[in-house]
């Protein structure tokens, strides 16, 4: 089985957006979700397109065109979904991120980890 390439941070954000959006992952929604995940940073739509193209060339995501819709002036949407290779790459990234988190928590203490856990909980809530 092919080994997936390591993902950059922005690639991880875009792929997480595609994963969470499920069947509704296309340019506008992916951009909105990525911006939400990357807050407080702003994300440009162009950067999302560039990343989607790159991910598709790496074989991590696949795309297809929908039927034309009136809210887009009769134009089609390009939907995206994660490929098996992309899911594996995202899993690897999540495992690495968890290791980083555990390493930091080990040095800076459990109180620090709890405080940040609470902050994230509030943001998510």
């Amino acid at each position: 089985m092919a080994k997936p390439d390591a993902l950059g941070q922005f690639e991880q954000l875009v792929m997480t957006a595609i994963l969470t959006l499920r069947d509704e992952a296309y340019g506008v929604t992916i951009h909105a979700k990525t911006e939400e995940l990357a807050r407080p940073k702003n994300v440009s739509l162009g950067a999302v397109y560039v990343t989607l193209d790159r991910l598709e060339d790496k074989g991590l995501v696949a795309s297809w065109l929908s039927d034309p819709t009136p809210e887009r002036g009769g134009r089609r949407k390009r939907y995206y979904r994660l490929e098996a290779l992309g899911e594996r790459a995202l899993q690897d990234s999540a495992i690495t991120a968890k290791r980083i988190w555990e390493g930091i928590a080990e040095i800076w203490g459990k109180e620090w980890a709890k405080e940040w856990g609470k902050r994230w909980g509030k943001e998510a809530g």
Partner: protein, 270 residues
């Protein structure tokens, strides 16, 4: 918020490569309708224009990255410069002694390369045309010749003499077309279907709309071999009639060409 003006969308669409045009214009249109705020007449238009200005250049660059093979581009740069240099060497050797001679030779070559990259990026995806390998060099060198006619307006010192320009462009056309036949642009390369569901197929922009020209691998190899042989005969004939093509130069050129082809093949197979 009302939809953006149709004329503005058409204008924005003209700059976006056809492969992404419908999707990008549609996304920008939808974002415009979704965005909450003041009516379109007050803030909508500037926001739409800002979105277009921020998005379109990145879409173009991404498309250029997808449709350009930089190793082949390097080969094209080499053969283009060689064409203009050869034309100058044989038509007017004194031109090369000029202070700006070598820079002046690089201008049409660089313009052609830029036009070739844009031609590939703006080509319709999936459309095959038997003379596609010729069309891009004709377009690129046409732009280079036109730019030479416009250059005197800004700086006449940088233009090439007419005969060097035409001879260089003619030779460049043949050589770039040959390079493109041997190494087609990424979007035109034959695609294999995935052997099972677990493998990824080619990306959408690489999928061919019509049946590719079917050539047996042996026939393709034979054609490539014949092309190489013709090039070797041409260089050999020049070596006989031109004293500048000494054996040492020929050996060096052959070694260089072999290294370029070997590196390209190794990268391709990996």
């Amino acid at each position: 918020m009302p939809a953006p003006p149709r004329s503005l969308e058409t204008l924005a669409g003209m700059f976006i490569p056809p492969a992404s045009r419908e999707v990008v214009v549609g996304d920008l249109h939808e974002r415009c309708l979704l965005r909450p705020g003041t009516p379109w007449a007050c803030r909508g238009l500037p926001q739409y224009v800002a979105d277009v200005v921020m998005t379109v250049p990145l879409v173009i660059l991404s498309r250029i990255r997808r449709t350009t093979d930089f190793q082949v581009l390097l080969m094209e740069a080499f053969v283009l410069y060689l064409s203009f240099w050869g034309a100058a060497r044989f038509m007017d050797a004194a031109f090369l002694d000029n202070r700006l001679g070598f820079l002046r030779l690089a201008i049409p070559a660089a313009t052609t390369l830029l036009a070739l990259m844009l031609e590939d990026a703006y080509a319709m995806p999936g459309r095959r045309w038997p003379l596609k390998a010729i069309r891009a060099p004709v377009f690129g060198l046409g732009i280079a010749v036109l730019s030479q006619w416009m250059l005197p307006v800004s700086n006449p010192e940088l233009t090439l003499p007419r005969w060097i320009l035409w001879c260089g462009a003619g030779t460049g056309l043949l050589l770039v077309a040959a390079v493109r036949m041997l190494f087609p642009p990424p979007a035109d390369r034959p695609q294999g279907a995935p052997s099972d569901a677990s493998q990824n197929g080619p990306a959408f922009w690489m999928q061919q709309a019509s049946e590719p020209v079917s050539l047996a691998p042996g026939a393709l190899r034979l054609m490539k071999g014949a092309g190489m042989l013709a090039a070797a005969v041409l260089v050999g004939a020049l070596a006989v009639y031109q004293p500048m093509f000494r054996p040492q130069v020929l050996v060096l050129a052959a070694v260089l060409a072999a290294v370029v082809v070997a590196v390209y093949q190794v990268r391709r197979w990996r």
